[in-house]
Amino acid sequence: MKPTKNRDMCDEQGGSSLKKIFLLLLCGAVIGLVNGFFGGGGGMICVPLLEEILSLPEKCAHATALVVIFPISFVSALVYCLSGHLESTSFLVVSVGVILGGICGSFLLKILPEKVVRVVFVFIMLAGGLKMIF
């Protein structure tokens, strides 16, 4: 199965100036801090930054945010595991659900119109932000 035509609309941008690299490094620092302290949620910050700095279309930004956050979460997960914040039963139970949901979500991103993705994301972002102050 070959990647479909959506790839074309993601391949418009190229080239990277020094300012852009500096901005990207700064974003990475913020994402890393948030992900490390709260054990997740870095991807949420990552999406709008990817959209603005790398000018990615909405859906590409969401998908690419997963690629960005994967290695960062891997480091977090290792540290959490080494400090004993993991329990096999609860992990197995929850991850079965998360994997099933993740597969549904991946297909949903393709199906849903961009406008719906945008509105849903704004609401989740607002909920995530509100949770921080309460």
Partner: protein, 121 residues
């Protein structure tokens, strides 16, 4: 019976947050509060469970997104490098004011909403 409900609620909360996680919308933002509030997980345990289940899910998700042509990884290298560095550091830095970071996330999300509304007008 109690165990059955535990497993069922765990799987259901996983599915709910997985749907958003798979769409790249921050499944952890939903999963951690669900686990701590409704399933009375300890905060750190909920965070650890979230991170590990995300890792497995994201491998499958990234594969599907790649096949759909949504992945555009060119230029993300600087984010990943500084992200890993700060993430690693944050786990060992006890004196950093977490409240500041919480305020930052709140202000970030608030301003994003303003910006989105402004852009759509």
């Amino acid at each position: 019976m109690q165990y059955f409900f535990y497993v069922l609620s765990g799987i259901l909360s996983g599915i709910l947050s997985g749907i958003f996680g798979g769409m790249g919308m921050g499944g952890g933002t939903l999963l951690i509060p669900i686990l701590t509030i409704f399933l009375s997980f300890e905060q750190k345990l909920a965070q650890g469970v979230n991170l590990f289940s995300f890792l497995i899910m994201s491998i499958i998700s990234i594969y599907i997104h790649y096949k759909n042509g949504f992945i555009r990884a060119q230029g993300i290298f600087p984010i990943v490098v500084s992200g890993i560095f700060c993430d690693f550091g944050s786990n060992f830095n006890g004196c950093f004011a977490v409240q500041n970071l919480k305020n930052f996330v709140w202000s970030f999300s608030r301003h994003l909403v303003y910006y989105r509304i402004y852009k759509s007008i």
